[in-house]
Symmetry: C2
Subunit: 162 residues, 2 copies
Amino acid sequence: VLVETTVPSVPGRRCRIVYRNGAPVDAARVEALCAKVGWPQRPRAKLEAALRNSFLVASLHLQVIDEEGASASTPQTETLVGLARATSDHAFNATIWDVIVDPEYQGQGLGRALVEQVVRALLRREIGNVTLFADARVVEFYRQMGFECDPEGIKGMFWYPR
Amino acid sequence: VLVETTVPSVPGRRCRIVYRNGAPVDAARVEALCAKVGWPQRPRAKLEAALRNSFLVASLHLQVIDEEGASASTPQTETLVGLARATSDHAFNATIWDVIVDPEYQGQGLGRALVEQVVRALLRREIGNVTLFADARVVEFYRQMGFECDPEGIKGMFWYPR
């Protein structure tokens, strides 16, 4: 699936951003992306385990394209510019985690397109209950996409050591 | 791990309730338990997939015991009286689902013991972020156990078709 956004980030070069679901994602590139948005660094081995054991890993990749619109990038030279992943029981529930878009490419609807693709992919796999935990500053972003806070009084809760 | 509760449910017989983590759990028995608390029936094949693909499945079993305190039940004759399961990325996050205790055995702390064992098991596996979605009527139950609603404004959200 192609996100129909072209990005003039490489001067003199045409670019586009491609959405992939289930493509191999290098943990080192995810780490670099997380650092770019200021998330605390997490142990590499745990990040690799989390990617491996997520039900779904969706990613956005920046490709340089040639005159005919063909990709002039290889998977190695593409830039990872977005990520989202979901845990699931493969049957009823999924929870979306780590939604991230490179700050250089924010503000053009990529986050929304990414999450919409993730929701669609989960629904295609017959997951009826798609959930997430949203930071206060992105609650409105998810609400506009069709997510509801606390439906029927259901509350998101986190265990905290006392 | 033994939950230290004896239950005089079988007249003239001594009983106890045993906690197990990762033991095989028969989907038909889970279905019967869910029916007992009035949950809507779910397709058997999906329930089996959900149990198989949960990171952790914890269960409570009623055993009849003999004079010496040994189990007089086989896994086949034990009664399933409680269940909880968790999805996870095996690294950072886990979400607890389907916490259920047989109404006949509620009111003696089994639900609390079950959830505490699940949290401990997740922490032992170095899952730092233990979450759940609580119905309004059980929010207080989880709060007393150390779960917090909406910490730092993080909201639980559910995708609803529009």
